[in-house]
Point group: C2
Chain length 393, copies 2
């Protein structure tokens, strides 16, 4: 009676959100302090001061009539100009306000970009392990998902990418700092990817695009995050302020089409058409303006770094194995039994809520979102220790 | 190279937004006070005090960490409960929080609902003249648009609806108070529609749904707006706070699936799946909470009423013809020449920006959005008078 695919997607929900909802229910049952919910990438560190200050300034100085009205579909002109100016100065790369499209966050940035790019028969390459919702957005846009697995250290495997990218590939999605591994790809491996994509574009006779999914750009622990448009012309940046400014629930981000992109103007038109078609009228306007004044700022990354150190140190001391993350706030832990789902179920008995890696496109790992209070990690460690003993680690 | 449909939709843009953008450019050229922009339904009356008060209260009392984080995909539980409680008390109709899905405004409400409902081969009936973007949303969801024209007074024509609704009809969209005519459908004509849909559902062997698109519910001038779920079981309400609370740019609204709907739980799952698939993670959270405290309130409707009276009075005195609107803030004026586009071009010479009716699905009219400063109308009237003389009215 209803759209079957939509109903199925609504019933299955995202695996992550499923655990998050379970955690909320469990917290009501036994008290929030007794549930160690590592499921969701919901920033635990407060938005930086500039956010509350800008909200107060705007509500204090703009008339309520002007402040909350529609902007142009692509965003308020002064906001788009501010984003473009920031990109130019921060990354030393050309960018024009006319190619900046403000969005309702990263998911909207991706959904819109994929709808803009996808023609019948197109394939999109994702680098696994990857964010599970890529599959949903790609399929909704009419594309086919092709996976290229990373190496054992979760860095790019150019051979795997060489096999995955073919005549039907419209774009490759790159997410660095990475969800779920916390890995940041270095300039050298990204140059390797850029070279591969240039060669593949030539073979194909039309560009293979790069979608740079960058919500974690600012959340890094002392490593550089190369700006992809500087390495590869046909790049579309999908950005979100959700994580950098701890505004996940406010739904605000942008799409920046590199001016060096083949057919940049037409691609931007397709982005606008996709935003329109999917029901995005404009990005939430108060936060458009707030974010325009907080560009380049971020929440207190040192808190995430402390969490990482505490968690990695503890878990490895208990015998668990992981690659220490360079950025984002996720730890990808090797499951001590091959079936990660079984491991997660066992962890649940200690009120540890982890996400099995299957939905990220690889088996045998779990994702731990450590964007929680440091105290939660400290209190969870004994539970992890008991869990490790069950496995005789 | 890109998705052709998206590119076309981006290039054509919405006719209304096209004129709005022209108006913005023109204002920069000759000064805002010299352009009479009646194109966009951007509320001119300030958000009611409760909005700014709630923003200040929330930013003052909630921690920045808690305030801006993700909510569940369907919205914060307390917000959904507040909306359900409001619906129960304001309309005397059953509603449960579990069937309320918070959205990024009316366009998102519609896009999500259409994606949830639409199966291959489905038709959706729109009542013309109607909001032009219905076509975009229906086609994007994979449906086919079927038009049922209203009578000359822009009220429902049950014969036209009887012809339009058939075996393939999945839903009929009803928008009252109406954009672009300002007409409010009465209980008797809506009961006629409900009876027709019950008969058609029986013939078809499955329900024909009613989508109640209600962004203008509170903006009425002394007439009652019947609540459709009280008249017809299989109703989904698509609501937005954009117009009632003058928050058009903040993108906040909701979908309420009537508990009496056939398969209400499954339909809600499909709504959730559609929201997820289209990249809506959750509705903007600050405004979820703000709106939950402002339910049933509205901006100062008397200002719109004064505008209507001034505009209708002036235009009819110059010899123009229109049906005086009962609600919303649109006036649907008969074009004094058959080609409404030509009339709009002529009006442009007097800096009067009107929207030709063709995109609303009927010919020979223009839409005047009178959600502008009263002074703008007062200053535009002499221009309208000159225009009327050109036509010898």
């Amino acid at each position: 009676m209803f759209n079957e695919r939509m109903q199925r997607r609504g019933e299955e929900r995202s695996v992550i959100r499923e655990i998050f909802e379970y955690g909320n229910a469990r917290k009501r049952e036994i008290g929030a302090e007794n549930v160690f919910d590592f499921s969701l990438g919901n920033p635990s560190v407060s938005a930086p001061d500039c956010v509350q200050r800008e909200i107060a300034r705007l509500t204090g100085t703009m008339s309520a009539g002007k402040m909350h009205g529609y902007t142009s579909a692509a965003g308020a002109p002064e906001v788009r100009e501010a984003v473009a100016a920031y990109i130019r100065s921060a990354f030393g790369t050309p960018m024009s306000a006319e190619l900046v499209y403000m969005t309702c966050g990263a998911a909207a940035s991706l959904a819109i970009t994929l709808h803009a790019l996808c023609e019948s028969g197109d394939e999109f390459v994702v680098i696994t392990p990857c964010f599970p919702e890529y599959k949903v957005f790609i399929e909704q846009a009419g594309g086919k998902v092709v996976c290229a697995q990373t190496g054992p250290d979760f860095h790019l495997d150019l051979n795997a990418l060489d096999r995955a990218v073919g005549k039907r590939t419209k774009a490759v999605i790159v997410n660095s700092p990475n969800n779920p591994t916390g890995v940041v790809y270095g300039e050298s491996e990204l140059n390797g990817l850029a070279g591969l994509l240039r060669r593949k574009s030539e073979e194909k006779g039309s560009p293979v695009f790069l979608i740079a999914d960058e919500p974690y750009r600012e959340l890094v622990y002392g490593v550089a995050v190369p700006y992809l448009p500087n390495l590869y012309a046909n790049t579309v940046v999908c950005y979100s302020f959700s994580k950098s400014l701890s505004l996940a629930g406010e739904r605000i981000g942008y799409i920046a089409v590199s001016p060096a992109c083949a057919g940049a103007q037409s691609l931007f038109a397709a982005v606008s058409g996709a935003g329109r078609s999917l029901g995005y009228v404009c990005a939430p306007v108060l936060f458009q303006r707030v974010c325009a004044k907080c560009l380049g700022q971020s929440s207190d990354v040192s808190a995430y770094r402390e969490n990482r150190d505490l968690l990695c140190g503890g878990l490895t001391s208990f015998g668990f194995q992981c690659v220490p993350p360079d950025g984002a706030f996720y730890l990808f832990l090797k499951s001590p039994e091959p079936d990660a789902k079984a491991f997660c179920e066992r962890a649940k008995r200690y009120e540890l809520l982890l996400v099995p890696s299957d939905s990220f496109g690889v088996e045998g790992y779990v994702r731990i979102s450590y964007c929680v209070a440091k105290e939660t990690i400290a209190r969870a460690l004994p539970a992890f220790e008991k869990l490790s003993r069950e496995y005789g680690l």
